[in-house]
Subunit: 186 residues, 2 copies
Amino acid sequence: MNTREKILTTAAFLFQKNGYHATGLNEIIKESGTPKGSLYYYFPNGKEELVAATIKLMGDKIQHQIEEELAKNSDPVQAFKEFILDLARDFNEKDHENCFSISLLALETVSMSESLRKTCIEVYDLWTDIYYHKLVDSGFSSEKATELSSILQLMIEGAITVSLIRNDTTMLVAAAEKIPILLDNN
Amino acid sequence: MNTREKILTTAAFLFQKNGYHATGLNEIIKESGTPKGSLYYYFPNGKEELVAATIKLMGDKIQHQIEEELAKNSDPVQAFKEFILDLARDFNEKDHENCFSISLLALETVSMSESLRKTCIEVYDLWTDIYYHKLVDSGFSSEKATELSSILQLMIEGAITVSLIRNDTTMLVAAAEKIPILLDNN
DNA sequence: GTCTATACACAGATAGAC
DNA sequence: GTCTATCTGTGTATAGAC
């Protein structure tokens, strides 16, 4: 793992866990064992450039995990249900390292930087598109799939957030149980 | 409005909008027009004590607004639907001053302070309880009401978050449209 | 490309006059 | 109770040796 990657993965972990403003550059360089000079060599525009890169990194990583998970079941109801239950299983890992959420970063950027906000929206769109295509491939109309993929995004987002705050996966499981009635009534 | 109230309402606005770490005490005293000495006179334990007080304040304020909104319709489906559509209407006000969300603060506190996290959970429980009682009063079983009130909480939370990030109320409206199938299938 | 020392600004907190 | 001056720590960012 090269220096750039070390900085990026450490930053991703800390930003996702503690948020943008609570994470210091000094903390990132200490934790990753890289000198400050390297950070500014690879990210000349400092903290904002670094966080933008981490948001994209997390977005891509999570995108691939979603694709993998959804591909396991051809039935969309089963696929989404299993996907969310899998999020619940991952949740218990230490420090929620695999947590599928950039909510904290996204909410922080809303009132901070228009360009970072757009970066977050692009990531969300990436994920929602996967849901959309899974639904279309399963026979849903384009219109229905558009609506439902957004609702799925919103429910998953909400369930992860509530789980993080309560430190309890009950709501992820409860959300998974609601998938059938959400997708069947169409 | 006395000095304490001025500090508290200004802090509540800034904390909710920008988050805990992005809001400086200097910004709060400047915006509220109160001297720093007063802030530490009323909140001797500084920033953490102040944010705890604002979380409770926002929790109570929002609690009363939820109660009012839900009381307008006796039919629970209609009540919750109108409630969420009302959130969408309020959303467009400047700086989202009436936004029914402490998500940003709650997510920030998760990795920061156990006692603040608990304060946030108490606020969420306050809101979920209102949903619960509305459902029970409408004839839902205690068991169903427990499950559904949490799902409602999660959906409202998710819809507001997505709306904030996208700066667009589409998802609040979409969530409101899903209320009938969420509550009817029981 | 790598590394350290340092600059500069601002944060939260405090002391003490009034 | 109110107000301001100030302390101390930390944050981001930079300069410049190697």
